[in-house]
């Protein structure tokens, strides 16, 4: 029997769910492996009471998210976090830098943005419940998503790439941004994207999160030695990784 799958969105722009539709050619092949019961972006129904695999996009920003995730964890055998928001807190976690109340006041004024919702410090899904599989990136790479889904269906271990980005960037024969006097976060960012941004002419912004093997002190030293500000590394890294302490 095909595993019953649900797709749930928390705080995000739904870009990763859109990426799932971008599997295009192979979407039907993938759907053939699963029994898709609920897809927040594409279906009008409700989250069913029972399912096997929960795919979660978005950061946790309210108490209601927490309650939902706790219910999901009790129900689903397998939880997959997709995208920067779910994996590292992503862009929503930026709100937690400095005073979150002040930020909200600027955006929403005195009235709460949505009635009946209790705001909390934004964080990744893994800060609230145990996550079995991870798909990093903003947005996710469709091939990588399918690969991780396969691994989950096969019962294999969760193996998001561990090492920094530079190696694959070298194989793309990119001229290093550091040589051109620009900060690039590839030095410390989790690989697996094929160095797409750098290849297209933009330095890495760290959307796949901190590589567990990153050597941050050495990376800051690298910037200093090239006449750049070492602290810039951390500041730029905050864009997608403000909640990095909470990543598990």
């Amino acid at each position: 029997m095909a595993p019953r799958v649900v797709v749930i969105g928390l705080a995000s722009d739904f870009g990763c769910q859109v990426q799932m539709t971008n599997i295009e050619d192979h979407l039907l092949d993938v759907l053939g492996l699963i029994d898709l019961r609920y897809w927040q972006l594409a279906s009008s129904g409700h989250l069913p009471d029972s399912y096997d695999v929960a795919i979660i996009e978005g950061a946790v920003t309210t108490d209601e998210h927490v309650a939902l995730l706790e219910r999901v964890r009790e129900t689903a055998g397998v939880v997959i976090a997709i995208g920067a928001c779910a994996f590292t807190g992503g862009i929503p976690a930026l709100a937690a830098l400095g005073e979150i109340d002040r930020h909200c006041a600027v955006v929403y004024g005195d009235t709460p943005p949505v009635a009946g919702v209790t705001r909390r410090t934004p964080g990744p899904v893994g800060s609230v419940i145990a996550v079995d599989y991870h798909v990093p990136g903003c947005p996710i790479d469709t091939d990588e998503f399918v690969r991780v889904l396969h691994r989950a269906l096969q019962g294999l271990s969760d193996r998001p790439p561990q090492d920094p980005l530079c190696a694959v960037c070298k194989t793309m024969e990119n001229v290093c941004f550091l040589e051109r006097g620009q900060v690039c976060l590839g030095l410390v960012t989790r690989t697996g994207c094929g160095a797409r941004c750098v290849t297209l002419g933009r330095p890495c912004t760290g959307c796949r999160g901190l590589s567990p093997e990153a050597n941050l002190p050495a990376a800051a030293g690298v910037l200093e030695s090239r006449g750049l500000d070492g602290a810039e590394l951390v500041r730029l890294f905050d864009l997608y990784n403000a909640a990095r302490e909470a990543v598990r």
Partner: protein, 288 residues
């Protein structure tokens, strides 16, 4: 640009060392909670015929869609036509293998590496020391010695495991305890009330044995921490450094000395080992 000619594509099916041969699982025995003993029969009769190996060699077990894992052969070379692998469920490939049924097909490449010097050992006493899963490659050697028992002097086997439930091949060893042509001593760290063997580490058994230092070959396989202590005990018995053989577990990914993963010191475990004598092993920086 010119049109790409036909010979731009090459096919080397016969000689491609990366290509696994389909092999059928002919038997599965549950040994412990985490270890099973699998018996395989290579499907292609020609390949099966030509598949000969030495004790201590390994194969690459392949499950397409999951990957490959190096596993040492635990059957004796004298048992032809079949390959027996004792496999712990420890990673993705071994986990997927554990989920297979009798009759299922997997891939096998090999045999690879350098095994124990069986011919050289003939005419001598042999002291085999195993810890935990390390008994798997040594069982091949033990069974091979058994098949040609008259060629060897005294044969002593010391085998240590964590607890009685983790003792592998217990059915065989229970039978062997009563034989007088093998001196077999089993020990566990954590005995239960059913255990009638020794208690403690395998190194503690050396007080009970006598070794003729000029005439004894040693063979050791176990967890990495074990080697140094067992070798110390063998050296205390004055055994020669080049008659003590150890088998290393490293990440033998390609099996043929190319991919680099099993590098130890200046050697590759997959082609220069996995069996090294202690002199060689001492010369491998970071090995022991």
């Amino acid at each position: 640009m010119s049109v790409i000619p036909q010979d731009a594509y090459r096919r080397d099916a016969e000689t491609n060392p990366y290509r696994p041969w389909p092999a059928r699982i002919t038997s599965i025995i549950d040994l412990t909670e985490t270890e099973k003993l699998f018996e395989f029969r290579i499907i292609d009769p020609e390949i099966r015929e030509s598949f000969t190996f030495q004790s201590g060699q390994f194969v690459e077990l392949s499950i397409f869609g999951v990957g490959e894992a190096p596993i040492s052969i635990s059957s004796a070379p004298s048992k032809q036509g079949f390959v027996e692998l004792c496999v712990r469920c420890a990673g993705d490939v071994t986990g997927a293998l554990h989920a297979k049924q009798c009759g299922d097909v997997v891939g096998i490449r090999g045999p690879f590496g350098r095994g124990f010097p069986f011919q050289e050992m003939k005419g001598h006493d042999v002291l085999l020391v195993a810890g935990g899963l390390g008994i798997a490659p040594l069982k091949s050697l033990i069974n091979h010695i058994h098949d040609e028992r008259h060629e060897f002097g005294k044969v002593t086997i010391l085998y240590g495991a964590k607890n009685p439930a983790e003792v592998l091949f217990r059915y065989q060893f229970d039978m062997w305890k009563h034989r007088d042509d093998f001196d077999l001593i089993l020990t566990v760290d954590e005995p239960d009330e059913s255990w009638d063997g020794e208690r403690g580490l395998v190194t503690g058994l050396f007080d009970q044995i006598e070794v003729d230092p000029d005439n004894t070959y040693g063979a050791i396989c176990g967890p990495p921490v074990m080697y140094k202590y067992v070798i110390d005990e063998m050296r205390k018995k004055h055994m020669d450094v080049d008659k003590i053989y150890v088998s290393f577990e490293r990440r033998m990914k390609c099996g043929i000395g190319k991919c680099g993963h099993c590098g130890v010191g200046h050697q590759y475990t997959c082609v220069d080992g996995p069996v090294f004598n202690y002199w060689e092993a001492m010369n491998l920086q970071g090995a022991i």
